[in-house]
Symmetry: C2
């Protein structure tokens, strides 16, 4: 008799974004003429840049000739892209990586979800709170998160990040086997200083903790002192796996390409103390359950590293960051507590008057016809906040701010 | 202390195709002027058809305009493709599926590897032997396969498929929780009749067994009586999940697109006997760990279902099947026992004189400069056989056969 994996049944039935969509639809049905602006879901809106489009057309043309046809690529990604990554994303920051430490993927969601396969099911995990739900949900599915008690998973250590602690998570006072960090942070839009990040690396080195570091939004960092990669910190190569994505860097949410860095030095332990290199294990995982990323998407990613590609991608990021500035300025001028949006495409807003975030979500929807994301959807410490994204078009973003000015 | 998933360490260190590549390289170093022809790895060689290329160019152009830009798509795939699949791949065979039962993916390898996440780690599994290694390896990684004893995994039931039983696996005499079937078969190139497949569905219905049915090569079926889908068998929707791929159908090994069918009726049981719909669970798995397939790849797949696309794809399949016929005819004329190649792109050849398959592989490489795949790489019952693929160009395939004629 085939038995189901009952860990799946522990997951809450509701999806945050499905709940939001439902509420928005209900509003639209009762207000058919309302022009709803969504600053909710973190999806980009601006088109692919010309350098990327050109590379994709060229790749498609190649695929139509016997000489240029590309079948199965390496599961780890084509060397042309892995080398471009090493050379452009790491070398200029003084980080020396070998291309064999880069694994090209179809986006960071897959790898942040799959990486937990490499470790025992009973390792304990720690997350900054609020966070991207995939980190916890992927652990729930294998039984690693335990069970829900008072809205929290029993085998998960939550590290609150709120206005009260300046969104700086406190280093746990006990040993945690695996820590998920995401900087610039989704959903709060806050960043981590080198000094604070160094504390985490030292904690990991001391406690033999593995850090899964999600750097999906690093391209939005404006401040030169903020680290783009955890490997800017000495010792991090021994303890951290890092995730990157072209989704937000270059509008690849529909193109599907990113990469994961698994340094040769990073290890986990067997029960009897033998150190196992995770690079080799991840390679085996990918060779078994993944067949590489689309050749066309990889050529598209390569184009981001050309001089034109770099310029064009930067321009789009500036466009979104101008939105973020506009949003920050407007919301601050209304007397609201605004966080993020300076080195990240997300604005994290404290709900005024201590109201709960779902109630504020509904008020914003009904009074301003603007959709946000209730913070509690990202974890218990998200209660009392909402997330707004800077990924809209200039027009819709400006219009949304005008409406909020009138409403608040 | 982060503990490693020790199940990974049970996997054999050698990869079949890496071993082959190593041996081929050694040969090339000592024979620098030899023109080696590979009929080994199952990758296609013919370019993408014009209808597909046109659709991809169009999709890329769309992505460069604000109106046509596509960001995150549905994790389950775009409705335009799911509807085309239902209408073209199933309705004409009398199979009624809802688009919500179709999950578009980045190729069958991912989903055949990931599907086992839905069931308990201690379910028993059964496989036809020889088989595609992903089925077993993905189960090893979670601990479900047990340990290796005499070259076999302790929690795996092997169902030998050899010339002796006409490559018809015997229905197990005991209950097995999960059965993997692949027809047309990789590596043997043999097919299953409706009558035999009905026996499996009945076995599954009777024993509450789940069938994972890999139909990646169904487009190569020539005989009108051979089933293209397990859902042609009554009752199969209750017990089977089916995997499809455009890799071999339309040369998408570098484009990355396929789909999985999870009927609403197929269930697995909780420990206390509650039936859980796997459609819902797979949806949750995909929404958590997958972010949809490239928009461009999905438009490419849609183009396969246009009248021109269908014609063009069929032409390429005929091209490969002509190779297969040439190979079959040549090898048979040499007095060899040849299987497959009539409804599948694979030829399964019995090694003459009872030699072992690695030895024959080396002889073929050194005497004819032709690369094959030793059968034992696909499982214990593959010993004494080698696999040849029909995916080469006409010229290299014909040349390879000429060489074998001279050598054997």
């Amino acid at each position: 008799m085939a038995l189901v994996n009952e860990h799946f049944l522990k997951l809450p039935n509701n999806y945050l974004f499905a709940d939001i969509a439902k509420k928005v639809n209900a509003f639209k049905v009762s207000h058919p003429n309302a022009d709803v602006i969504s600053l909710g879901i973190g999806d980009v809106t601006q088109p692919l840049c010309p350098a990327v489009a050109e590379a994709m057309h060229k790749a498609v043309d190649e695929m139509t000739t016997p000489e240029g046809f590309h079948g199965y690529g390496p599961e780890q990604g084509y060397m042309f892209l892995r080398e471009a990554i090493v050379k452009n994303d790491f070398l200029p920051r003084g980080i020396h990586l070998d291309p064999s430490e880069i694994f090209v993927n179809d986006g960071a969601k897959s790898d942040t979800g799959n990486i937990q396969e490499l470790v025992r099911w009973d390792n304990s995990i720690g997350v900054t709170d609020p966070i991207y739900p995939v980190y916890i949900d992927s652990n729930v599915m294998i039984g690693r998160a335990g069970v829900v008690e008072n809205g929290k998973w029993s085998n998960v250590t939550y590290l609150p990040c709120t206005a009260e602690n300046g969104f700086v998570p406190q280093i746990p006072d006990r040993r945690v086997d695996i820590i998920y960090l995401c900087y610039p942070n989704n959903p709060t839009g806050t960043v981590i200083s080198k000094e604070e990040l160094r504390k985490w690396v030292n904690y990991a080195l001391k406690n033999d903790t593995l850090i899964f570091y999600d750097a999906a939004y690093e391209a939005y960092i404006q401040d030169p002192d903020i680290p783009h990669s955890i490997y800017e910190i000495k010792g991090a190569k021994k303890v951290a796996i890092e995730f990157h994505s072209y989704s937000k860097t270059a509008g690849f949410t529909g193109v599907r390409c990113g990469y994961t860095v698994v340094p040769k030095e990073v290890t986990a332990s067997t029960l009897d103390g033998k150190r196992i290199a995770l690079n080799e294990l991840w390679n085996r995982r990918q060779c078994t359950k993944f067949n590489g990323t689309s050749y066309i998407s990889q050529r598209a990613a390569e184009a981001i590293y050309t001089p034109e590609g770099k310029k064009q991608v930067k321009k789009t990021i500036s466009y979104y960051m101008d939105n973020a500035k506009n949003m920050r300025d407007t919301l601050s001028s209304l007397g609201l507590d605004v966080f993020g949006g300076e080195n990240a495409p997300y604005i994290w807003l404290k709900v005024p008057n201590g109201e709960d975030c779902w109630r504020f979500f509904e008020q914003m929807l009904y009074n301003a016809h603007v959709v946000c994301t209730p913070g509690v959807g990202f974890g218990p410490s998200g209660e009392g906040y909402i997330r707004l994204t800077a990924f809209g078009s200039r027009e819709s973003c400006t219009e949304a701010m005008e409406r909020l000015k009138k409403w608040i």
